[in-house]
Subunit: 230 residues, 2 copies
Amino acid sequence: MSDLLWNRQPPPSRGPKPALTLDGIASAGIVIADAEGLDAVSMQRVAADLNFTKMALYRYVPGKAELVAVMSDQAMGAPPDQPKKPWREALETWANDLYRGFERHPWLLLSTVGRRLIGPNELTWTDRGLQATAGTGLNGGEQLDAIVVITGHVRTIAQQSLTMPGGTVGVTAEQITKTLIDAVTSDPDRFPGLAAALPTLGENQNEGFNFGLQRILDGLEVLVARRAKR
Amino acid sequence: MSDLLWNRQPPPSRGPKPALTLDGIASAGIVIADAEGLDAVSMQRVAADLNFTKMALYRYVPGKAELVAVMSDQAMGAPPDQPKKPWREALETWANDLYRGFERHPWLLLSTVGRRLIGPNELTWTDRGLQATAGTGLNGGEQLDAIVVITGHVRTIAQQSLTMPGGTVGVTAEQITKTLIDAVTSDPDRFPGLAAALPTLGENQNEGFNFGLQRILDGLEVLVARRAKR
DNA sequence: AGTTAACTGCGTCCACTGGACACAATAACG
DNA sequence: CGTTATTGTGTCCAGTGGACGCAGTTAACT
């Protein structure tokens, strides 16, 4: 199962030397996904880029799902080293590092949905997050929950602002706001909340990432302070 | 473009009566997705369930992507009516309603990633959210950002806890925690944050949803109070 | 050295996918 | 009535993930 992600089982001694490596295959897949989107990654395509037939890949990977899993963990990489800081700053830079990861490989947003096996790199990210929250005085479960909220926020903003090649066909942010404005102006009674908010809607442009992050951190601070008091 | 989601253009007068409706097709797709996951939804399958050929569907829908979009907006439905409450409680119930939506149709988590066109139901959800935040005194952009944070959190938790049929093959929560524990116990120096948090990890079981939500709301409250003061 | 057993990469095959296109049947209009 | 728009269908195509068996390569064992 997760052997592929964690172990690299000892190379066999008997037969001919393997011409490929799991890492090499995954790297080829990542190149394709970065350039043309996750949908462009097919066994055939990856194999062709390596000058092999697709069936050769199945000697290294049980199936496409597993290949994508390996690609994902590899593309995620290890979080960059950061000097030790107070928890709030540490979480802030952690969130920024994570966002930059999704920026580099937007398809990670697609390949890492739902419950899946955790690879070493992903676990390292979690670990760094927990190192950051260690100074809060919260218990382990709460620390993990805090990491989860922040991760969710980073993912959400990344999904909204990043254009992924190939994925759902190009929908510009302008198109979206246009349909929004069209809808509310043509039938304001149907969308009273939007109608009320519309005049002051543009005042917070592109600050969604920081807005949400600061709210979450503020909320954590409230809890931390409450705990420290007693 | 979004005509499919918003307009229903007037029925043509000339040819034979259409035997199908867009809504009917979408409903059939939803049934399949609910029962067997989004991957089981193919043109062929949907058509077969309706006792038609797949090519018949293309008279109603330009392609699969658009079908999924219509399915998504229809499955989302309109948010349930709620009595007017103070903003914090209103947001709380709004988030719970949203979670329940994902619970009913877990595949929505997959079909609504990335930038896409907004349908009327999705916009109504946003509108209700803005009605809830109207009492905060924040400007429109900030209100929208607040909605976005909460939506992201709901999605994140839903992704973690819901099992979607068909999707990435069944990985139980136990398997995940097992690899986690295996990794950290076999090499604690590599994951110091996890090693430290591990003893108190189980103390917050299944409370991730509320934990995160309360933190976000606490954070919003801080901002609202700060604004009210001046 | 010779044999055996493991292992690699490849060719072939299959069911299935989304979709283009032409064609006959249908129904309302002049 | 014919004309014309619109429907559902049949056929075709390139591409997908994957099962399976076959030949060639290589190290370990006798």
